[in-house]
């Protein structure tokens, strides 16, 4: 029997969504300040409108729907799924008013890409964009990368037990500290520390690359947001090509790696337990898969004759691999040249790396190393069971924070989500083929990149791309960020609203 949610449930959801919009409104005040300082008046009014609309909706829902009712898992899932959708719509308002997007869908694509830290862009004339608009795009990646729902609710001091459902619903299932609020604040502390260290390192690297001090600060802050939060937006259309600096590339690579580490592993490092990092299933899975993919990329580039010297081979190959694995999407090549100059094997290896992505409970996207590791362990477990006598008790363990026994439900959950990601990649690729303008290598590359929230583009995504495909990509980014469960819960909730049985009065 499916119970129809009542008005009280809807009010509860509206109350928490209002809180998220309040937070988004506050986020927009930062670029507003920059627009005023830079005397970018039209951008300033656009941010005022966006922030005001968020604050109005947030304040009204706060006043009208305030409640002390506890959140159930269903509420949490629905709130998170809707928060990312509605958040993207409201975040798109200042973007659309900037006049740099063809239509509202394009602005929403950009906002969803920013919040989900995908980093695909459809902005017109980025190289002449006002600095406040550019800063806003990067700031959205920071808000989204840290998990905007958990950020907002920990700021607005909702109780720990209430936040727990939202924390897990937002695809952050690793509780580092006993209390969810403390866990959220630890995530803040990590991000804050890296913000200071990363921006400072980038600032000096940019100074050494001949940037003036003000330009170095501007690029350093934006590059930090795009790199640590594994977003991949760039200040200039040329992405990382623009900097011509090995030092900048090294700092960005380190930030991307830091961003792809789970917050649990950051906690282990924080506590001086590096051994936990090296024993973790995700670290080992990423080490093995990255080695395989890097070998394939180097072999592919050598075989196709793209690079015949050691430095470009390693510098371009390694940076692109780290960018793909961390799901950042910074590029050291023009997207089109992956198709025209990189042969076949190297781009295929990049697709594989993008599909797997980074670690769970990090800012990275993709299937996640832990699921690939668990799926592989499951396969080994099944093979062992076949080979050993039937009476033998086969126990498989793995290390994830502590030694754990591989159980059926863990295997099922990992393989189900893995399968859903693969299906989504294929659906996106097929829809791309329907338009007839691209071949399978292009549509598959782009679909995996979008579905894993990576952002490396081979050229399919552009301001003029088919709108149906753009809408599909928006859906893929949303699904990929929330790892399906919250979205399915939302669909189930909508179904029960339409067809469920009323609760007893």
């Amino acid at each position: 029997m499916v119970l129809r949610p009542g008005a009280d449930d809807v009010r509860l959801i509206a109350f928490y969504l209002g809180k998220v919009l309040l937070g988004l409104g506050l986020v927009m005040l930062a670029p507003l300040g920059i627009a005023l300082l830079a005397q970018e008046w039209n951008a300033a009014t656009a941010f005022t409108i966006g922030a005001s609309l968020c604050l109005i909706v947030g304040a009204v829902s706060d006043a009208r729907f305030a409640t002390r009712r506890p959140l159930t898992w269903a509420h949490g899932m629905v709130i998170v799924a809707l928060a990312w959708l509605i958040g993207a719509i409201f975040a798109a308002i200042p973007m659309y008013l900037s006049g740099r997007f063809s239509d509202p869908l394009s602005a929403m694509f950009e906002a969803m890409s920013g919040l989900t830290t995908t980093g695909m862009s459809v902005i017109h004339d980025l190289d002449h964009t006002p600095i406040s608009d550019d800063f806003y795009r990067h700031l959205l990646q920071f808000a989204g990368g840290q998990g905007i729902v958990i950020v907002v609710l920990s700021l607005f001091a909702a109780g720990g037990s209430r936040v727990a459902t939202l924390y897990v619903s937002e695809a952050r299932d690793e509780r580092i500290l006993p209390n969810f609020i403390r866990t959220a604040r630890f995530i803040f502390a990590v991000a804050g520390t890296f913000l200071v260290l990363g921006t400072t390192a980038l600032f000096f690297a940019l100074l050494s690359a001949s940037f003036s001090a003000p330009r170095a600060i501007y690029h350093a802050i934006n590059l930090f947001f795009a790199s640590f939060d594994t977003g991949g937006f760039s200040v200039m259309q040329a992405s990382m090509i623009y900097y011509h600096s090995f030092a900048v590339e090294v700092v960005v690579m380190l930030l991307m790696i830091a961003g792809t580490l789970s917050f649990g592993l950051h906690f282990a490092l924080w506590r001086g337990r590096p051994r936990d990092v090296f024993r973790h299933l995700e670290t080992r899975t990423l080490a093995v898969t990255s080695t395989i993919f890097f070998t394939a990329i180097c072999y592919g580039l050598l075989r196709s004759g793209t690079y015949d010297r050691f430095e470009p081979l390693v510098r371009k190959g390694l940076f692109t691999l780290v960018s793909a694995v961390s799901s950042t999407g910074h590029q050291v090549n023009v997207g089109e040249t992956y198709l025209t100059d990189w042969g076949v094997l190297a781009p295929a290896a990049i697709v594989g790396a993008m599909a797997i992505g980074g670690m769970a409970s990090s800012t990275a996207g993709g299937i996640k190393a832990v699921r690939v590791g668990v799926a592989f362990k499951t396969l080994l477990h099944d093979v062992k069971k076949i080979l050993l006598p039937e009476s033998a008790l086969v126990v498989t363990t793995y290390h994830a924070g502590k030694r754990r026994i591989l159980r059926d439900n863990t295997s099922r959950a990992a393989t189900t989500v893995l399968l859903l990601f693969v299906v989504t990649y294929l659906v996106g690729a097929m829809v791309g083929l329907l338009y007839g303008d691209f071949d399978i290598s292009q549509t598959l590359f782009e679909s995996v990149s979008v579905g894993s929230n990576i952002g490396i583009s081979i050229g399919v995504v552009s301001p003029d791309m088919p709108r149906g495909l753009m809408a599909v990509y928006v859906g893929q980014m949303w699904l990929g960020r929330l790892e399906y469960v919250a979205v399915f819960a939302l669909l189930g909730y909508l179904f029960s609203l339409a067809r469920g049985q009323a609760k007893a009065a």
Binding site: S210, M236, H244
Partner: protein, 254 residues
């Protein structure tokens, strides 16, 4: 089991279970419809506001004259390893020293590797000085050569496209301005060697310039104030302040 599966004659059950149901259902429906209507109004309002943005007449101001014609009229695409003939064909058709676009180069980087080419575009961003010269990003998109930066007009022509150019000492100092918000930088015409994997740039695709000519000076585009947007911003900011105060008052009462 759903609501329609209860016995049609069970009026008493229906009244007790659904006694307040139509009203509650109505409230739920209202709570669902109101945000959708509100969201539609907001989106429509934003679209109308954006459409009301003031435009300035930029006709002809940003067009760069005296550009040499592109040597290749089309932009053939080749794929490394499988289309070697296309690359050779392009190389055969190209006249050394002729003008190319960045798009033509990206569609077949192997074709013109090591050849002397001419390239024209706007210097954007920063001039990154190094020992012996400077790296500059030179865009040859329509914002650079035809319509100017996307300010005060609606010629949305897609992404910026361009190439990295190495300007030796004595050349980059002559650049008077670079592309920034609402400013088109100097447009330069360079002649030099195209390197598909420049060892000095970690394997990047570059042009090493031997000659440079400035063919259009820096151009600043005025960005007119969007008055209706300003009025909307003031009204909404006042409403937001009022709403925030009201919500604080309500919260204190609870």
């Amino acid at each position: 089991m759903n609501a329609s599966s209860s016995s049609p004659g069970d009026d008493r059950g229906r009244t007790s279970r659904r006694g307040s149901s139509p009203r509650r259902r109505g409230r739920t429906r209202w709570l669902l419809i109101t945000p959708l209507v509100g969201l539609t109004i907001i989106i429509a309002g934003v679209v109308v506001l954006e459409a009301a943005a003031p435009l300035v007449d930029v006709t002809g101001r940003s067009v760069v004259d005296d550009l040499p014609s592109l040597i290749l009229e089309d932009s053939p695409t080749c794929t490394r390893q499988s289309d070697d003939t296309t690359a050779e064909d392009i190389r055969g058709r190209f006249v050394p020293g002729g003008r190319v676009s960045s798009g033509q180069i990206f569609r077949c980087p192997a074709a013109l590797d090591g050849m002397e080419v001419s390239y024209a575009g706007e210097v954007v961003g920063d001039i990154l000085e190094r020992s012996g010269g400077a790296w500059v990003q030179v865009n040859d998109d329509t914002y650079a050569l035809e319509v100017g930066p996307l300010v005060g007009h609606r010629a949305q022509n897609g992404f910026n496209t361009g190439l990295t150019v190495w300007l030796p000492d004595g050349m980059h100092e002559r650049i008077g301005g670079v592309g920034r918000p609402a400013q088109r930088g100097d447009v330069i015409l360079v002649k030099g060697t195209l390197l598909r994997t420049d060892p000095e740039d970690g394997g990047g695709l570059t042009i090493r310039a031997d000659e440079m000519e400035i063919i259009a000076d820096t151009l600043t585009i005025e960005n007119p104030l969007h008055v209706p947007q300003l009025i909307a911003a003031i009204v909404l900011a006042l409403l937001a302040t009022g709403a925030m105060i009201w919500s604080r008052i309500v919260a204190r009462r609870l």
